[in-house]
Symmetry: C2
Subunit: 369 residues, 2 copies
């Protein structure tokens, strides 16, 4: 049986299927943080699709491999701690940190910080403080990626006023639901597309309750007269923003609903097919297609002040908690047991058995020394 220390992290040493390559590791108590740094205890860390891609080795950004998860530890082999997003509580504050106190809630400004762990030391500039009193633990743990993606795509590409229209596909994704809510709060109307499914009426109702103006399926769109009626919905104020996380041929149809000088902003490709765009709107109607990557390019190019401002705005919006399930790695588990648990969760996610966001709560192990 492996030694058990004060803290625990999920790790991988080589890329592959998460259900095969993930394990857990315990490590010694963190020493007091160096100047301008913080010790953090993670409370909840989501398992996002991009985290899975990181472990598989197919995501363009990666966590840094390390041989030491705590100052007192020297591992024989480098490990990577996955986890890009998460809510942590500050447990200790280094010299020179003035804007953050012990007990504060923070989320990550640094991408791939390794949130699937119970405790880490990070620079104070690598986190963003949240207004602890005004947001739930689940909303805080899931605030840093999906809601700002929605918020910034609505803010930064087209000047939207109340009464304007936005089109999106994959509308019941986490980002899609945030888009619906944020647009509705801004008086912006949304035309939302989802795949057909047995419970389509329930889904339409659910998204409408979130604030969706219209919800349609791609199948419906393939009918010519229906297509025309969708086009008529927006009258002489046609949508100039199309938010895409699906790609493939259906996206080409959606671009035909857009007005002149529209923007097609992609943040995903769930169909795993290339994005299809009719060339005519690009040449003759000023359509532009680009992408948005919150944890990559946006994060790199934006100052911490801007990130803080965006998160503050989102906290104010009081978005609905995403549907979720919390998976706890209890402190009583051995590393073998905790690792098996994580791999089982990864396997179930791979098989699509959750259908909702999984959040890890990694408890400090019950120490044996």
């Amino acid at each position: 049986m492996s030694a058990r220390y004060a803290h625990r992290a999920v790790v991988f040493t080589r890329n592959g299927e998460p259900a095969s390559v993930l394990s857990t590791l315990t490590y010694p108590a963190l020493p007091p943080p160096p100047p301008h740094s913080l010790n953090l205890k993670f409370r909840l860390s989501p398992i996002n699709p991009s985290d899975i891609n990181v472990v598989e080795g197919v995501y363009p950004s990666k966590p840094e491999p390390t041989k030491s998860l705590s100052a007192g530890q020297q591992l024989t082999e480098s490990v990577c701690v996955p986890g890009n997003e998460g809510l942590a509580e500050v447990t200790d504050v280094g010299e020179g940190v003035t804007d953050i106190q012990k007990g504060d809630w923070v989320v990550m400004a640094k991408p791939q910080a390794g949130t699937w762990s119970s405790a880490r030391t990070l620079g104070s500039h690598e986190v963003i403080k949240l207004d602890k009193g005004n947001i739930s633990e689940v909303n805080a743990a899931t605030i840093a990626v999906n809601p700002p993606t929605a918020y910034l795509m609505l803010r930064d590409y087209v000047n939207l006023n109340s009464g304007d229209w936005v089109i999106q596909n994959g509308a019941n994704s986490a980002v899609g639901q945030a888009i619906i809510q944020i647009a509705a709060q801004q008086g912006v109307k949304t035309i939302n597309f989802v795949r057909d499914r047995p419970d389509i009426d329930a889904l339409k109702q659910q998204l409408t309750q979130l604030g969706a103006t219209h919800v349609f399926t791609y199948n419906e769109l393939s009918d010519k007269s229906f297509y025309k009626s969708v086009k008529e919905l927006t009258g002489n104020n046609p949508p100039r923003l199309l938010l895409n996380c699906v790609s493939g041929p259906t996206t080409a149809q959606l671009t035909r609903l857009l007005g002149t000088d529209a923007r097609l902003v992609s943040y995903g490709a769930m169909s795993k097919q290339p994005l299809a765009i009719p060339t005519g709107p690009l040449i003759f109607r000023g359509l532009k297609a680009e992408g948005f990557w919150i944890t990559g390019r946006w994060s790199k190019d934006s100052e911490k002040e801007e990130k803080q401002k965006v998160l503050n705005a989102i906290v104010q919006m009081e978005l609905k908690e995403p549907e979720h399930e919390i998976v706890t790695l209890e402190g009583s588990l051995t590393d073998e047991q905790a690792g098996a648990r994580v791999r089982e969760v990864a396997r179930k996610i791979g098989e699509g058995k959750y259908g909702k966001k999984v959040l890890l709560r990694i408890e400090d192990p019950v120490t044996n020394g």
Copy 2:
């Protein structure tokens, strides 16, 4: 037999196949031009693919219908004169025109000016003067659309320095050949793609002689090791500009040869398929896709001074004349004969029988009065 007047135009009264709907019309001599206007005699007017689309009614911009081609004429039915591009000689100058003289060569600043005619009156702001001594008649007649499309796409999207790389498909199109020549003059290297064909070696040689750095076929690209070798050509200075007039699935492959923050600029879609773009480069590598339309958006948004500057620069470049055939509508023909001739030319173009640019030389009819 219809009356024969001083001038002749090709016209259509309804959209349709050019080989069916085109006819010719003669009209009285132009009166002296009003203030700030010019009388023009057209010397050569290309038949461009977009002109065909205009006649068919599938092009987004159209000539204005008119009931009078000359002040002395009143037609019972409105007619449209096609022709967006052409070289004209100034035959008379209205009051207040200071920058243009009788005998000057001009091309059109106004889109869809109706160049398939022997003589028209236009505002002096609707034409751009060329430096008559420094350019051939054929180059002048074909300077206003294709060469500026090439020049501006190379100038306005990515900051290109000598030694940088550009990729294009449809490389043996008129614009493609201009891209090769202009890039070569600027020290910019080009990777050119064309369709496979029986005489591919001759075509490769021809484009290389124009200045192409490399010429490949789409078939070659589908081979993985070949693809890798193309990627290696550009080393650590990957192309950031892809110029597209083909669209369809091959374009998706080409985008993978691009570096970060690249631009995919489309000016055509000869495959008649939607543009396919992998979503990854949009999201993770800052790829942006847009379109360029010289006779539409660029022309509308640009001052005459800018157009003049661009054409002056192109005259300086002494581009090779496009392969062409001049079709003369002799002055001795009746309208019936001239109309039949135009429809026959249109039919041959529709059947792809020319394989080179057709230029109309519409002579003033031999008058009968």
